[in-house]
């Protein structure tokens, strides 16, 4: 069966990582777009949330889809990490990295696991709030807590670091590497993670700083 052979091969696994990574990035884009309503007003955000949840089937399907994508990304990521540790690992008395700025690429599995921890806490938190509280109030309730917000911002830093290697790596995995586009790709590899960090970080800061107290 060719699909089985494909996903068992080294390049096939990489392509699964890249496709699932791309889908996760696209999800983050829609998530950011929806959350932008927070900056309008609590009313706008609640209206958006209500509109979304008036379509329970869509929410369920997207949620399950996202879960499957995430499981693929995590499963293959951990598999690659373990295989590579066995094939490479620390095998020299002196390990020198010639490439500068290799911190993000070296820490992919760890930043990934931090994101996973965040996702678990984030999803659990917003699905288990007090029954009588609307989600627009719940956001304020949670993020006004200094340490809760700090944890969010810390996690967004991990996400930014993950993408500062991941975005370029994904395109390389797809075979997109051409002198005409490489400068643009290098710029996007800074802009995309920075955007998510600034945007999601701003939501946390908004409530953390008290600015959003009466949003």
């Amino acid at each position: 069966m060719w699909p089985i052979k494909f996903i068992s091969s080294s390049i096939g696994k990489k392509i699964i990582m890249a496709v699932s990574g791309l889908l996760l990035i696209l999800f983050l884009c829609t998530h950011a777009l929806g959350n932008a309503a927070i900056f309008v007003s609590s009313h706008a955000f609640q209206t958006y949330a209500n509109a979304l949840h008036s379509l329970p089937v869509v929410v369920l399907l997207f949620g399950l889809g996202l879960l499957v994508i995430l499981l693929f990304h995590i499963g293959f990521g951990i598999n690659l990490f373990l295989q590579n540790r066995a094939a490479g690992g620390n095998r020299y008395a002196i390990n020198t990295r010639v490439v500068k700025n290799s911190f993000a690429s070296k820490t992919m599995p760890y930043t990934g696991l931090l994101i996973l921890l965040f996702i678990i806490i984030h999803v659990f938190g917003f699905n288990n709030g007090p029954a009588d509280m609307e989600v627009s109030q719940l956001v304020k309730e949670y993020l006004s807590n200094f340490f809760y917000s700090l944890f969010y911002i810390f996690s967004f830093c991990a996400l930014a670091l993950h993408l500062s290697h991941g975005f370029w790596s994904m395109l390389q995995t797809f075979g997109i590497n051409h002198p005409r586009y490489n400068n643009g790709i290098a710029k996007l590899t800074l802009i995309v993670p920075a955007f998510f960090l600034v945007f999601f970080g701003a939501i946390a800061l908004y409530f953390m700083s008290g600015l959003g107290a009466s949003y």
Binding site: S10, Q83, N84
Partner: protein, 251 residues
């Protein structure tokens, strides 16, 4: 011209299955005009005169074209100078009193035969599984009978510059052989003669690469940085495309 004194720490191992360890040697008055291998020759002469076993290391052409030489010097494959093989690395890159830690190219797929000498036949098996053209492409064609754009020919030549030394594998944090395999796939898939077997080649060579026990690429770029022939990871991107296209239609 000047002379430098060096402190060498060299990996010594009797044979594949014996345990190895570092040995320390002091080497005085090494001319900075010497190549790295000549420096090792001086050491070996000294060891032989003392009745000790000389350090085994691979080499052949000593002019940077055969791909036989190579060790890891202070953690860097082929040493500190960019775009040179170990035989073309000169001692002027080092300072008086330097300590050089010299280790073999390490990979699960490259067993150590003795000291710094490794067995790279895993590379040969990757080539044997598809790195050739076996269909009849006719006799010697007239010059320019098959037009090939100059840019394409240059890309194929750039890939064909790979001498198969194994520095890419040695430097890869994952011990992956993607730069080597991608260069060998690229040099053929870019040219008309390579088209007939194009897809099967990509599938077979990647399958052999995986079977030999190399790691998976995570785009760390160390291979490109140490490659003595400056093989670009653009070739790896090309291999990813080749493999995906082949797997979707003929995999």
């Amino acid at each position: 011209m000047s002379d430098i004194d060096l402190n060498l720490q060299i990996w010594r191992q009797k044979k594949s299955d014996s345990p190895g360890a570092f040995e320390t040697y002091a080497l005085d008055k090494i001319s900075t005009e010497m190549s790295f291998l000549e420096m090792l020759d001086v050491l070996n002469e000294k060891l032989t005169k003392q009745g000790l076993d000389p350090v085994a290391f691979d080499h052949d052409c000593r002019e940077g074209i055969c791909g036989m030489c190579g060790t890891v010097v202070n953690g860097v494959a082929h040493g500190p100078e960019k775009e040179v093989t170990l035989c073309q690395l000169h001692m002027r890159n080092f300072k008086d009193g330097d300590t050089l830690v010299i280790e073999p190219f390490r990979s699960r797929a490259f067993p150590i035969r003795k000291d710094l000498l490794i067995d790279r036949s895993a590379f040969d098996r990757i080539i044997q599984s598809g790195g050739y053209v076996s269909v009849n492409t006719g006799g010697t064609p007239d010059g320019n009978a098959i037009p090939i754009p100059a840019q394409t020919a240059e890309l194929a030549m750039d890939a064909a510059a790979c001498i198969g030394c194994g520095a890419c594998v040695a430097s890869c944090p994952n011990g992956a052989a993607m730069l080597f395999t991608s260069a060998k796939v690229s040099q053929l898939c870019l040219l008309p003669q390579g088209q007939t077997e194009r897809k099967q080649r990509a599938l077979d060579m990647v399958a052999t690469m995986d079977k030999e026990g190399f790691g998976n690429c995570t785009n760390e770029r160390e291979c490109e940085a140490v490659c003595p022939k400056s093989i670009s990871i653009r070739n790896i991107a090309r291999l990813n495309r080749e493999y995906l296209m082949a797997a979707l239609s003929e995999g």
